[in-house]
Amino acid sequence: MTTEVGSETEVKKEPEKAEEQSPAPEQDAQAPAAEPKAEAELPCGETAPPGGDGDAQPKAASPEKERKQKEPSAGKGISRFLPPWLKRQKSQSQAEPREAEKENQEKVDEQQQPGQESAPKSPVSEAKEAPGEELKSDDKDDKHSIGSADTQPAKEEKGDESLERSADVKEKEESKCEEKKEEGETPKPDSGTEKPLLKAAKKMKTVMCHVTLLDGSQFPCEVEKRAKGHFLFFKVCEHLNLLEKDYFGLSYKDAADQKCWLDPAKEIKRQIRNSPWQFAFNVKFYPPDPSQLTEDITRYLLCLQLRQDIASGRLPCSFVTHSLLGSYTLQAELGDYDPSEHRLEYLSDFQFAPTQTKEMEEKVVELHKNHRGMTPAQADAQFLENAKKLSMYGVDLHHAKDSEGVDIMLGVCANGLLVYKDRLRINRFAWPKILKISYKRSNFYIKIRPGEQFESSVGFKLPNHRSAKRLWKVCVEHHTFFRLVTPEQPPKARFLTLGSKFRYSGRTQAQTRQASSLIDRPAPYFERTSSKRVSRSLDGGGSRTQHGSANHYATCWPTSLLLSPRLAQWIRLHHPLPRGELVWSDSQTPLRATLVLNRTACLRAFWCLVCVRLASPCLQTSLWFLIPQSKLRVQGENIYVRHSNLMLEDLDKTQEDVLKHQASISELKRSFMESTPEPRPDQWDKRLTASPATSLRLQAQGPPVVKTEMVTISDTFAAQKTEISTKEVPIVHTETKTITYEAAQVGDSEPGVLMTAQTITSESLCTTTTTHITKTLKGGLSETRIEKRIVITGDSDIDHDQALAQAIKEAKEQHPDMSVTRVVVHKETELAEEGED
């Protein structure tokens, strides 16, 4: 869906870039190497699937290499039709030449070592060597005999791909390059639209991925079956509005329930194997100094991760620290301590520690009082300042045994490798002291710079081969990320081009810092919501009508609003609320209204915000989760939302409520419209009455990325003014209604040349989203038109208005640079008594 559009467009310029890039390092590497093909061949195997590389290679590579490259693919392709035993032989014979080459490479590495040793970067080069080692299977000490076994599957993969999907490959290639390019340039993918000829008429198999975000919410994301890790990762970052993404990664649980990092450079499918397409977005590299992060949103996400780490016990802290960190969490999430609303019950919704005592909660509250006036961002910063000093901050622990079979833990962190026995740190190997990291079967080795009091090579026994490899990977990644400063250097290039199945493909910390320093955007708004509270509130009945991230919205009703005087005035006049329901603070400007948990009030507030949102798409993400104390400019009006954990206890509404609610909404909306500088036609009333089957059409205008200021919707079927009367009829009957709203400026319906068309279907609990993307070429400009058809099925409990709003909202979020030009609401209501459950 979105993703497609986004990536295609980004991808456009990549291929040439990638071609330029990849050969260059190869040549560099070749210079010192005795056997150029060793280096040349392996990279193509690894960095990219063959199809794409085939294009890229010839320029720099020898024909020999080219041949090599094709061989495996052809062989593998055929091998699919061969009996397994034959297949096996085949792959073995293939692996052999590789190993020989590897050998040479090894030598080269060794030659280089002495010279590098004094240089601070030497460990770096060593680590890079390691991947090479992985491929070896002979008796040499540092070599991994599993290596060859490992590489084979990789080759097979390649073979399959190149045969089965030559066209597909190209596209993969592109998306891969996209990442590369991104590294060097603006992190935000710009979505200019160009011709994606290759894609035309290709049918795509997609899979729904479910990504658990740090706040506990789920982000459903549809990806092509063969998509690489980074594709999904980018979608998630895009969804989160995260630019400093290099500290993060996606993880999944393997068959043994071990947490693994999704390699962005590899196909998702190949990595997760038979595991479900279920991922978690996590911090991968904990920045040693979070204050150096550029954006608050990044710090916020880091906070969420640390809260998780703390609550799960992964990051141990003392009682006082638990309390202090908890108090910063409260300050960030709830704002200043307020005795009237911050009662202790409040706290039980937060998890400050693996085991939380009443005493601790009291301490948290006590400390919370001291943070008065601190903004959420400041509270997060304080949280991090304290958390980063914790001894286990950013330490990734792995179970192991030492050479004597004693149980230990190996901790990988920014500075190096730590060895723990029980809770005690019994050894430490800083990265500069480590010359080489390798693994062989279930053993993990580090080679230490000689001259220290420790033996030059230290071995550890991991539970199994997979865990040894996982540890090795994590080490290579951490080492590269934290130690490598200038990855453009030949060693880095060599590293990347080595034939290992694995290398760190992201930016180093140095690079990401540099990139972050270039971030030039207004601080993005984001919601701060405790994951704990979200999951709790899902216990209620509300969840069943929600899907995906919608959960999120439905459960986080605002309880406190800061409204513009005008809006506040209106609410006061038109909705005399029962006493206690809406508490007005003094008539300051802007007014702050506190909504006490009451469904009607919440709904009103909600709708008010929905309207604001819909009317001003520039508000981007979830307006109703705005952080306390931050002011949001809404066309000159300030809106302030503070949410609480006091959720709606039930979402069952009586018919009367519905009517009342809807009536009041329309008024509220009208009022809002009036209060905005550019009043919208009040077609929303009509929309409100429409329901279940909803289809949205989004349209993007060609290459120029125009941030649309408004969702402009004009009513083409003004006559269709429907009423909600249907709800009152107890008899079973079906009703169909169609309402279409179309943007007035849509005058471009003349057809262009169709370039691509694709349809993606995704399903979640009660919605089916069909996304139809067409690209047309019109007068030299390409235009992408996305039509989303969202079928919402479910009992009458569904708040259709909300669902529609949600759909529009999501659409807007997914395509921030597109505008909604048409909204067609098609309702098929089957009204039956038993519909309620």
Partner: protein
Amino acid sequence: MTALTAPFGRFTHSVVRAIPASFGEGALRTCSAQVDLAAALREHEHYVAVLKHRLGLQVVELPADESLPDCVFVEDAAVVCGDTALVTRPGAPSRRKETEAMKQALQELNLNIVEMDDDSATLDGGDVLFTGREFFVGLSTRTNQRGAEILADAFKDYTVSPVPVLDGLHLKSFCSMAGPDLIAIGSSEPAQKAFKVMQQMSDHRYDKLTVSDDMAANCVYMNLPDKGHVLLYCTSEEYPESAKVFEKLKDYTLIPVSNSEKVKVDGALTCCSVFINKKLEN
């Protein structure tokens, strides 16, 4: 955690204990030496007076217990960091009861008390070096692995790294903190070796203040609100060479303190007090 925000060496309280008459004869010692009890009492009195009057600390003085000849060395009975106090299980069985009075005193100071329940664990506070960033714990005749683990459990915020004590009674028999990130260390080979181990284990680089006498490397550093860096160190009468090294420290309030009697039973300057910072959140 509050300790993380307060400057290193900031203390408001000190717990000390009087010398019992049994001290001269009964106190454990690694080498046989005759202790002049009267001199020891004078020495200790002066020590407490420095803390109380010169430095203005709130000094909690526990009464002596004749059945516990070593009870003046309160440091071994508890490790206090921030709001948490670990009441130890001293390595010498004859000293185990020393913790009772200490525990009570710490409770009265409203610290979170953690006790060593494990009968296999032993830990003397003299083996615990807190640098402000992490703990080093000497594995000695008095402190074992299990004791070190419990220390790590009690202070979860900090890294705890064991250091083998090859020579001397305690880890702090040859080293101590002489300032923020400054470790005073004896010049003997075992001491220097231990420093190397500490440096190897730490993510942080410490400065090293080497003094010629191992025992002189035990000094008391404080950072007090109106006094800045304060250092109690052994007098030049006892350790002339080492005293010179301390006297070169700039911007310090240097207070030489005599320790000639207590040293005969392996007592050092840090041994005679437990320091606490109580004005944490007020």
